[in-house]
C-alpha cells in the first residue's frame, strides 16, 4: 500500500490533524504519527487510510483514480473572461472615513469615463468569447452616472446570451430613474451597511439624518427589489467594532442572511489614516462573531452566515469550490475577471487598482485602449499557486487555501517572505484552525450552524473522521 503524503498539525494535547494533498483529512494522535512516519502501520491503520482515500494499492485502482480526481478538482482553472468590474466614475457623494476606493468629491471634474473610454470599454466587452457576462459597477458612486450604466447594460443585454449586473452603491441618493434601473430582473444591488445606525453614521455618513435616509433606502430596496437581489457588507474597525449581536440582529431584521465582514481596508486613503491594522485584534473579533452566529442560529428559524467563513468551510469539503476570486489556487490574475478604472486602465483586482492609485506600486495591467499587458501579467502569475511553495507545502491547510500576490505586494512590497510572516497566511491559518475546531466540536448548536453553512439538512459525524 502507498500512503499519499500526509501533512499534520498540532491541535491539542496528543491530538493531530492530518490532511493529504487532495484535501482528505482526519484527526489522530502522536502514536499514529509515529507508526506512519516510521512505516509500521497496523492493519487497522491501513484499512482506515484506504477507506478515507489517503492511500492506494496500485496506480489506476479506484483509490488512485479517486484521489487524482479530487486533487485535480481542487486546482482552479480559469474559464474565459466573463466578469468585469467597471468604475465609470470616481466621484462620490459620501466621504467615508476609510474610503477604500480613493474617491473624489461629487463635483470634481475629469474622473468619469469620457465617450472614448466608454466606446473602448464596450469594444473590449464585445471582443469577449464567452456567452455570458457579469458586470459589477463600482465607484465612486456609480449611480451618479446612471446614463453610463444604462448604455453598458443595454449593450451587454444585446450582445450576450445571459448578462447579470451588480451595482455597488451607497444607497444614499437614489433617484426614481435609478430605482427603475435597479428593479430589472438581471440587476442586483450591493451596498455597505456597517451593522447599526450609530456605527454607520460614525464611519460613513457623519450625520444621523443621512443615515436615516440610507436605512430607508435599504429597506425600500429589500421590499421592492426583493431580499434575493440585495446584499450588504459591513466594514469593521477592529479598534471600535460594533457588538456582533447587534450586527446579526440588524441584518436579520432587514432579511439579509449573509454577512460578509470586512476589516477596514488598509489601502487607499484608509491606509494613510489607520496604518497597519492589528491582525490579532481582528482575529479575536472574528472569533467572537462566529460564536455569536452559532448562538443565534441555535434558535433562529432562518440561519445566518458569515460569507467568507462559509466559503472556506465549503472549500474544505468540496474540491471544486472556486467561486470566490480572492480564494483560489492557483489564483491566476487577469484571466476570468478584470477591473476597468475610470480612465480605462486595466487592473487584475480592485486592490491592485487602489494600490496603484495611491502611488504605492504600479499594478495596472494595460488599458482598454492598448489591451492587456501580457508581460506584466506573466510576472504577477509566476507565483500564483501554493502547491510548491516551501511553507505551504508543509501546511495542512494548503489544499483549501489560496494565494494573494496583490495583498502580499501591497503590504510588504514583495512576495518572497516566509508565508508565516504574511497577513494572508496568518489570517487563513487562524480561520482554518477555527473551522476545524468547529468541525470537531460535538455540540448540537455548532453542528446546526455547520449544517446550515454547508447547505445540508444535518452535519453528519462521519464528516469529521477520527482515527485512533
Amino acid at each position: 500500500m502507498n500512503v499519499w503524503p500526509l501533512r499534520f498539525t498540532d491541535v491539542g494535547r496528543d491530538a493531530l490533524l492530518f490532511c493529504d494533498e487532495a484535501g482528505g483529512f482526519f484527526r489522530s494522535d502522536d502514536a499514529f504519527l509515529e507508526r506512519y512516519a516510521n512505516d509500521i502501520l497496523t492493519e487497522a491503520d491501513r484499512d482506515f487510510l484506504l477507506a478515507g482515500g489517503h492511500s492506494f494499492e496500485e496506480e489506476g485502482d479506484r483509490h488512485h483514480v479517486g484521489f487524482a480526481a479530487r486533487w485535480a478538482k481542487r486546482q482552479f482553472v480559469p474559464g474565459p473572461l466573463e466578469y468585469i468590474i467597471l468604475v465609470p466614475t470616481l466621484r462620490c457623494d459620501l466621504a467615508c472615513r476609510y474610503c477604500q476606493v480613493s474617491r473624489v468629491n461629487a463635483n470634481a471634474r475629469g474622473f468619469d469615463w469620457n465617450e472614448a473610454t466608454l466606446n473602448a470599454v464596450l469594444a473590449l466587452i464585445d471582443s469577449l468569447t464567452s456567452e455570458r457576462i457579469k458586470i459589477e459597477f463600482q465607484g465612486g458612486e456609480p449611480l451618479l452616472r446612471l446614463d453610463l450604466l444604462s448604455r453598458v447594460r443595454d449593450f451587454c443585454r444585446r450582445r450576450f446570451r445571459s448578462a447579470e449586473f451588480v451595482v455597488c452603491t451607497n444607497l444614499q441618493k437614489v433617484s426614481e430613474e435609478a430605482w427603475a434601473f435597479l428593479a430589472a430582473a438581471d440587476t442586483f444591488v450591493s451596498t455597505s451597511f456597517d451593522g447599526d445606525a450609530l456605527t454607520h453614521t460614525r464611519q460613513r455618513t457623519l450625520d444621523p439624518a443621512q443615515t436615516a435616509t440610507f436605512l430607508s433606502n435599504l429597506e425600500r430596496a429589500m421590499t421592492t427589489l426583493g431580499t434575493g437581489k440585495v446584499s450588504a457588507l459591513p466594514t469593521i474597525d477592529p479598534d471600535n467594532p460594533p457588538a456582533p449581536d447587534a450586527i446579526i440582529a440588524g441584518f436579520a431584521r432587514l432579511g439579509l442572511r449573509s454577512i460578509y465582514l470586512r476589516p477596514v481596508n488598509y489601502h487607499g486613503f484608509a491606509r494613510k489614516r489607520f496604518g497597519q491594522g492589528d491582525q490579532q485584534l481582528w482575529n479575536a473579533y472574528y472569533d467572537r462573531f462566529i460564536d455569536a452566529l452559532i448562538a443565534y442560529n441555535a434558535h433562529a428559524a432562518e440561519p445566518m452566515e458569515e460569507f467568507y467563513f462559509t466559503h472556506c468551510l465549503r472549500r474544505i469539503f468540496r474540491a471544486g469550490h472556486h467561486g470566490h476570486v480572492d480564494m483560489r489556487n492557483p489564483n491566476i490574475l487577469g484571466a476570468d475577471y478584470l477591473v476597468i478604472d475610470h480612465d480605462g486602465t486595466l487592473y487584475p483586482t480592485d486592490e491592485a487598482r487602489m494600490m496603484t492609485r495611491i502611488g504605492q506600486m504600479d499594478l495596472s495591467i494595460g488599458s482598454v485602449f492598448g489591451g492587456l499587458d501580457q508581460e506584466k501579467l506573466q510576472i504577477l502569475n509566476a507565483n500564483s499557486d501554493n502547491n510548491f511553495h516551501e511553507d505551504c507545502g508543509q501546511c495542512v491547510f494548503q489544499p483549501f487555501c489560496g494565494v494573494d500576490v496583490i495583498d502580499d505586494l501591497s503590504r510588504y512590497g514583495r512576495i518572497d517572505l516566509s508565508r508565516h510572516e504574511t497577513a494572508f497566511c496568518r489570517r487563513h491559518t487562524a480561520l482554518f484552525t477555527r473551522i476545524f475546531e468547529l468541525i470537531y466540536t460535538d455540540d448540537a448548536a455548532t453542528r446546526r450552524s455547520l449544517a446550515a453553512w454547508l447547505g445540508v439538512p444535518a452535519f453528519d459525524p462521519a464528516l469529521a473522521p477520527v482515527h485512533k
Binding site: D61, H63, A319, A451, P457, D460
Partner: protein, 363 residues
Amino acid sequence: MIPLRFRAELPPIEEPLVVRLRDRPTDDFHDDREAALIGIAEGWREYDFNGFSLRIEAEPGQSLDGDVVLAFPGRPIVHRLIRARSHHNTFLVTERCDQLCLMCSQPPKQVHLDLFAQFGQAALLAPVGATIGISGGEPLLFKEQIFALIGNTLSVRPDLRFHVLTNAQHFDSEDGPFLHGRARDRVLWGIPLYAPDAADHDAIVVKDGAFARLFQSVATLAKAGAQIELRTVVTRRNAALLPRLARLIATELPFCTSWALMQLEPIGFGRMNWDTLFHDNSVDFGPVARALNIALARDIDVALYNFPLCTIPEEYRTYAPSTISDWKQKYLETCQGCSLKTRCGGFFEWYDPDRGFARVGLE
C-alpha cells in the same frame, strides 16, 4: 395508467414498421416514415400511411400526435416507442443480462429480439431535444449495436440526449474514443452501485467480481469525461451500508454527475422478494438521511427517487423530485387533497399499501 400499446389494424407489412403519427401533415412531412390522421370513429383513429390505412384504437383524450409506434407483421398491435408528450421514453433493447440483482424490476430472459434497426429509426423521429432512455436487461451485452445506435443518431440529431442504464461490466479502454466523442456531453450512463464493498455488492447483483469490474469501467468513463449517474436501490440488504457508500462515492467517485438513492419498485424480483427487501423509510429514515448528508456536504449531487414525500422528513423533501414515470404512477386515497401532491411522485402502479409504508399521508 397510460397505455403503451394499442390495438391496431395494420397495412400489409413484411418487416417491423416504425412510424410517427401526426394529427395533421406538417410542412416537413415524410410520407415514408409518418402517417397522418384522416378520421376518428367509434374509438378508432384512421391514419393514411403512404396510401394505406393504419387504424389504431385509442381513447378520445389521448394525444398521439408526434408519437412513434412500432408494429410487427401479423400482430394487431402497435407499441408506443416514443410518446411525444412524455419525458419518460425508454427503449428496452434486450432482456438478457449478466447480473441477477435481487431486486431487479425487469428480470432477465435468455431470448433476445433484435430490434436495433427499429430503435434507430424511432430515435430519428423523436421530438426536438428529447432524452431517450436505453434499458434492458443489460444493453451493453450488445455494445457495438448500442454505440452505433447512439453514434448514428447523434450524427443526424445532435439535439437528442441518451440515458443508458448499464451495469458497467463491459467498458474497456478502447471505448475511450467513442465515450470522449460526440457521446460525451449527450449520454448519461446510469450505473447501479449497491454497496461500498465487493462482498456486499457482488452478493446483491449475484455476480462474482462485479464490483471490481464496475470500477474498471467507471475509470474508463471518468477518463473520457463521460457523465455518470450512480443508482442505488435502497433495500434492507444495504440500508445500513448507505453512509459508508456515501463516503466511498465522495472519495473514490467524485467525478460522478449525480447519485440517485431509489426506493424499491414492486415488480419483477422486487415484487417477489418484497418482504425481505423493502426498507420502510417512513419508519427508519436514518441511514438514508446520513447518506444524503455525507454526500451533499461533499458536493455529490444526491437525489431520492421514488420516495413518496410524506414518507420522508420535511427537511429532506427538496431532495426528492417526482420521478415515477407517468405511465406507471398512481396516487392513493390518502393523496386526495394532499398539499404536496403536485410535486410528489406518488407510488408505483403495482404498489400494495398493505405491505408497504407504515406511515403514509401528511399528519
